[in-house]
């Protein structure tokens, strides 16, 4: 069914329409939360909080943005709040001028296999690398590069300007690449 109609029906109290909307987005929200939190329990918690907020304030949803953008904003805020509570020693990239390797020979990664889901060691490397990245940078990287949202949408969700999204994205990519490279090129 058309999403606009589903939203209208759900706003008028139709539980079937609301259930349909939740089902349409639950996997996307869960997977996004997992990619930010790197933990299935925390991802489930973030998903529950996101849809709880959606149900509470659906009547205020005016349709000016896409429902997916609205949900991404809620789940991003929730995940960032949780990560900030942990007070990890995230690496700050705010003052990084440039993450490019200087002078050293850069190995060719063509032979590195991509079968990530079969490779526990590689998964651990990816988790370790992204867990060092500060939450704000992490969210921009996942929204834009991993989930494929536009720069504009990423800016709306994170409340960052377009240049700020681009700058964070560039630094996050370089940081993650360099962290993974330390292990892969050993």
């Amino acid at each position: 069914m058309d999403e606009v109609l589903l939203i209208k029906q759900a706003q008028e109290g139709d539980k079937k329409a609301l259930t349909e909307l939740v089902k349409n987005y639950e996997k996307t929200v869960f997977n996004f939360a997992f990619k930010i939190c790197r933990n299935p329990e925390r991802a489930e918690n973030a998903m529950q909080e996101t849809f709880f907020s959606m149900v509470k304030s659906l009547k205020q949803f005016d349709g000016k943005s896409k429902l997916s953008t609205w949900l991404y904003r809620i789940v991003t805020n929730h995940c960032l709040m949780e990560l900030r509570k942990k007070k990890n020693n995230y690496i700050s990239l705010d003052d990084e001028e440039n993450n490019l390797p200087d002078g050293a020979l850069i190995p060719d990664w063509s032979s590195v296999p991509s079968d990530i889901m079969e490779n526990t060691e590689l998964k651990n490397i990816l988790d370790d690398a992204i867990n060092k990245l500060s939450p704000d940078y992490r969210a921009v990287f996942i929204l834009r590069d991993v989930n494929g949202l536009s720069t504009e949408e990423t800016g709306q969700i994170t409340e960052l300007s377009i240049p700020a999204v681009k700058s964070r994205l560039h630094r996050a990519r370089a940081f993650l690449r360099n962290e993974i490279s330390k292990v892969i090129n050993k």
Partner: protein
Amino acid sequence: MKNNDVTCKDVMDHICESLGEELDSPKCIAIKFHLNECTQCQNYFKSVGKTIEFYKLYEIEMPEESHKRLMKKLGLGDS
């Protein structure tokens, strides 16, 4: 250049976007010329593309139990 799913165009889009440049801007064209000649840069940008690909592929299946708990929390049926 073709490396798995990452193409030259992907790499160029990423670089130029990071720099806030249009794809046909003089700076972007100059970068493209340099990239064609420089193995070091090619390796670097291929590895950035591969990094993104790794994180895209790293997903988990949402457990059925998570779906049931969500429906229960929201007080929704599951028909």
